[in-house]
């Protein structure tokens, strides 16, 4: 049965290959193959506007009321945080950190507070902190409610998962205009975007946590006569508490990662605003100083909430918790009284941020100047050797303009023979042979010119093989929407940026992950770098990348890779380290050397973790598309900005949905059922 299935799959793919080959050969004769006919395109964005704008207007009174409701506690919280003198705040944080995560972390928390004050970003940081703090309770509660509903009514789980996927992958930039229409200008609109993005991790963890409550616990509860409600609150919930707290941790991080989006709307002098205006004037120093504040905030919140989930194993308990709470309260009251008595006392020294930022900027420019010979050669090599050929293909690259020679018929022959030969060598593994042939075809035409029907056929076939009809329907809807709305070219651009970025990330990140798993010292060095790459606002990477590689796709690629390389590093290391000791010992005793051990034992066993890592890499890469558009790409992300600049909610909706569907389809294809 298995082999017949595989055979029929191979046969289908071979058929698809022949169809694609025919389409490639016919493309010069039939223009509708090369580009989707303009006459068939539909004004989908305008239609979306027709439907959506009345909806938004109807929601407006409700949204505005809601927003002004949020504004009041937000102002209070912000004013209070700014009112408490910073040494008191830092001391409180120190005590909490000590209790939750131990002395090392407490010192770290103290040092970061001093850093924030020294560079002069204390007020901005407290404003950001206020937004994050206030967006957490609704995100956690709604996420929990959604997750509990999904658990209670299993039929809801399918649609719920789809909704959560959309919430996480639909770029916030794409619904900024609707948010502004409904909720009005101000931090409330940004906060709502942040809540939307932060709900899914909580909901997912709630579902997992409730599902994995041991049957024994449930049976015991049922036998002691618990009603379904009691069963939920007294048996399931306590048993799932750990997983729920993991959800709280991830929701906190997600909410923090939206700081920049909140700032784009404005209305609040927060730290994200500082990063944005530094990006606008291309000042690396300032954006880095502000970015590090966000990293510090992220690490602090991460460690504290993670300690909640793990029961603070490293915490130092100086006092019983109740006494500690009393001490915290007293310190806070004293601080407030002190500030009331001396209203002018904010204890903030003049920041030294400016001089440091200037020095950093000058150093970056010195580096750009000094390294120019290397980077201009690298830039040319990569652009002419990799990026351009991938886009326009072997056939067009072999021209005097690009590679310095004209394409001769014998070159095509050699190319075909090389590809066919590779496929023949792989004949024992038909799937690989087919992959080589497809790759050869794509490299010949280039991704931008690869006939669109082929992309559709490949996507449909892949969807059918991996997941069946449900995914086929999604692929069909997505490709139709993209083709009909005339966004095929931006879509292909996004597709290939993502594909190249993910390949680079998986290879390089994977190798770093292996090194980190094999060597503790490497692991210790890599971990803080990964943390920083993941939490530093991506905008900070853009400036040096632009100066070294200039406006264009390659810079976008660098920015995407820097962000999306973290998951493969993390998951490969995690997977390899998770291989049970007795299995590796058995292999060593059978005489496996280190390389064999890695290749034949550890990597196969770490497979599921690695696949999850690749999946996350794709999600990260796609989520960077919109930000990468700031360095001048022509992808879907750029469409999102154009929609924003024209206040066109419909265009934003269509391009945002295209990005979200691309992410969801990629995820489903990889996550084999």
């Amino acid at each position: 049965m298995m082999s017949r299935l595989r055979l029929s799959g191979t046969a289908l793919w071979s058929l698809a290959l022949f169809v694609c080959l025919a389409l490639v050969l016919l493309a010069p004769l039939l223009p509708w193959i090369a580009a989707f006919p303009r006459d068939l395109q539909l004004p989908l964005a305008d239609w979306a506007n027709l439907v959506l704008n009345p909806v938004f207007s109807t929601l407006q009174p409700l949204g505005r009321g809601f927003a002004s409701g949020i504004d009041i506690p937000l102002r209070w919280l912000r004013d209070f945080l700014l009112f408490v003198p910073w040494p008191a705040f830092a001391f409180l944080l120190f005590l909490v950190a000590l209790r939750m995560a131990g002395p090392g972390f407490a010192v770290f928390a103290m040092v970061t507070q001093i850093y924030i004050v020294a560079v002069g970003y204390w007020p901005q940081t407290m404003n950001t902190f206020a937004i994050v703090l206030l967006s957490l309770p609704p995100a956690i509660l709604i996420g929990f409610a959604l997750g509990a509903a999904g658990h209670r009514w299993p039929r809801l789980e399918g649609p719920l998962t789809a909704l959560l996927d959309l919430m996480q992958t639909f770029p916030a930039f794409a619904y900024l205009i609707p948010l502004l229409i409904v909720f009005g200008f101000g931090p409330a609109a940004g906060m709502i975007a942040s809540v939307i993005f932060a709900i899914p991790p909580m909901a997912r963890n709630t579902i997992v946590g409730l599902r994995e409550v041991p049957v024994v616990t449930l049976e015991a509860a049922v036998m002691s006569g618990a009603t379904p409600t009691q069963l939920f609150w007294t048996a399931k919930l306590p048993a799932a508490a750990r997983q729920l707290l993991v959800g709280v941790n991830q929701t906190t991080m997600a909410s923090l990662s939206m700081v920049i989006i909140v700032a784009i709307i404005g209305g609040f002098n927060d730290i994200g605003w500082e990063v944005l205006s530094a990006m606008r004037s291309a000042e690396l120093g300032r954006s880095l100083l502000a970015g590090v504040v966000i990293v510090a905030l992220a690490v602090t919140l991460d460690r504290i909430t993670r300690a909640l989930a793990t029961g603070s194993p490293n915490g130092v308990q100086l006092l019983p918790d109740r006494a500690l709470a009393a001490v915290l309260g007293v310190v806070l009251c004293l601080a407030v009284v002190l500030r009331l008595a001396l209203p002018g006392l904010d204890l903030l020294p003049p920041g030294v941020g400016f001089a440091t930022a200037k020095a950093l900027d000058a150093q970056l420019l010195d580096f750009v100047r000094w390294s120019d010979p290397v980077f201009s050669a690298l830039r040319d090599a990569l652009n002419y050797g990799v990026i351009l050929p991938l886009r326009i293909g072997f056939a067009a690259s072999a021209s005097p303009m690009v590679w310095g020679f004209t394409l001769q018929p014998w070159m095509i022959a050699v190319y075909c023979i090389a590809i066919a030969g590779t496929a023949l060598l792989l004949f024992r593994r038909p799937a690989w042979a087919l992959l080589a042939l497809f790759a050869g075809l794509v490299c010949y035409t280039g991704l931008a010119q690869f006939p669109w029907p082929c992309v559709v056929i490949i996507a449909l076939l892949g969807a059918a093989q991996v997941r069946g009809l449900g995914l086929v329907a999604v692929v069909l809807i997505a490709t139709l929407m993209i083709l009909l709305s005339g966004m095929w070219q931006p879509f292909v651009q996004s597709l290939y940026l993502t594909a190249i970025a993910v390949s680079i990330c998986v290879v390089i990140g994977g190798m770093i992950g292996i090194a980190a798993a094999e060597n503790d010292r490497v692991s210790r060095i890599v971990r803080p770098i990964s943390d920083t790459l993941q939490t530093l606002p991506q905008f900070v990477f853009l400036i040096p990348a632009l100066m070294l590689f200039r406006v264009g796709e390659f810079t976008a690629l660098i920015a995407i890779v820097l962000y999306a390389i973290v998951p493969p590093i993390r998951y490969v290391e995690h997977g390899l380290r998770g291989v049970p000791g007795h299995l590796t010992e058995a292999a060593v005793q059978m005489g496996a050397n280190r390389w064999q051990l890695l290749r034949d034992v550890k990597l196969p066993l770490a497979g599921p973790a690695i696949r999850l890592g690749i999946n996350q890499t794709i999600m990260y890469a796609i989520s960077m598309l919109v930000i990468a558009a700031l360095v001048g790409t022509r992808d879907l992300g750029q469409q999102v900005y154009v929609a924003l600049g024209n206040a066109n909610s419909g265009l934003g909706f269509v391009s945002g949905l295209s990005i979200a569907l691309l992410a969801i389809i990629a995820d489903r294809m990889l996550r084999k059922s």
Partner: protein
């Protein structure tokens, strides 16, 4: 967009008629001095300075002013419902369609030019004159050697013109086509990208031609030359290079709520040399925005006092 209800429209019409009868910019009521006037603070230093100056002048008149950071696209949402009261420095070159649309909807009001002397056009770092000897004349850009120097993989075989970001809207593509220039306009993606390119080009002496505008703070750091643009052949002025308008915009209810403030803002002007000097103080010396603006206010009472007098007396 929500229509603003205007309970005081009738009275304000009478007031307006009375004012017109009295002739010119005559005395106006202060209006609601207890509610702060909320000025939008945009991302760039020039606008931040202009806003600070406007705010300080309004404070001198007796208003309380709140400075609210606002994104340059989202601000229109705030201006059209009064969440923001005014924005002082709107550049017509970087606003896309969102600004004309908001004006059309009638919820915001353009109260005239800020008075900055602006320019726009294709600029290049000074050393480009060695690479393309005919510069600043535009015909130098037809020279094959010059074009080759500007070529990148994105634009083969043409030279590259680094254009405004796609969401700003730009005219360079039409100008290139109208004059059959061997150039291709590549959108930069963001202002930050344009500045990073300009700084890197200056540092490494590598060729660059870009659409740019003045006054801009980077121009005190890098000397650029401006191409003498080809004569505009298009009938549509929007297809030609023209100095961008820099305008002051208020919420449609501003005039009724703060009549004198409205008159003051209408007269409020910032001169380019002043702004350039203040930008340099903020960006190069690290002086605080407030101090620099307060310095200007202290030294230029003869400039701003007449605005107050005209509005209040």
């Amino acid at each position: 967009m929500r229509k603003i209800s205007k309970p005081r429209a009738a009275t304000s019409a009478i007031a307006l008629a009375a004012m017109l009868a009295a002739g010119g910019a005559s005395a106006a009521e202060l209006g609601d001095v207890d509610t702060p006037i909320k000025l939008a603070v945009l991302e760039w230093t020039g606008a931040q300075l202009s806003t600070q100056l406007a705010g300080m002048v309004l404070t001198k008149a007796g208003y309380s002013v709140e400075y609210v950071p606002a994104g340059s696209f989202p601000q229109y949402s705030g201006l059209s419902d009064g969440t923001l009261s005014a924005t002082i420095e709107i550049w017509s070159n970087n606003v896309g369609d969102i600004y004309p649309r908001a004006l059309e909807a009638g919820d915001i009001e353009n109260i005239g030019s800020l008075g900055l002397e602006t320019r726009e056009g294709w600029a290049y770092p000074k050393f480009m004159e060695q690479i393309c000897p005919g510069l600043p004349d535009w015909t130098a850009l037809q020279d094959p050697a010059c074009v080759t120097a500007l070529t990148t993989t994105d634009t083969l075989p043409n030279g590259r013109l680094l254009d405004y970001p796609a969401d700003w809207g730009s005219r360079s593509g039409e100008i290139i086509a109208d004059n059959a220039l061997p150039l291709t306009a590549i959108p930069a993606g963001s202002e930050g990208a344009m500045l990073a390119e300009l700084r890197a080009a200056e540092a490494t002496q590598s060729p660059l031609l870009l659409m740019f505008w003045a006054p801009h703070h980077v121009l005190s750091e890098i000397k650029v030359g401006w191409v003498d643009m080809p004569p505009c052949t298009s009938d549509d002025p929007d297809d030609c290079i023209q100095p961008p308008e820099v305008e002051k915009v208020v919420w449609s209810g501003f005039k009724d709520k703060w009549p004198a403030g409205y008159e003051i803002l209408k007269q409020f002007q910032v001169m380019s040399p002043d702004q350039e000097r203040m930008m340099a103080a903020v960006l190069e010396k690290g002086d605080s925005l407030e101090d620099v603006a307060a310095g200007w206010i202290a030294e230029n009472q003869d400039v701003w006092q007449p605005w107050l007098d005209a509005a209040l007396d």
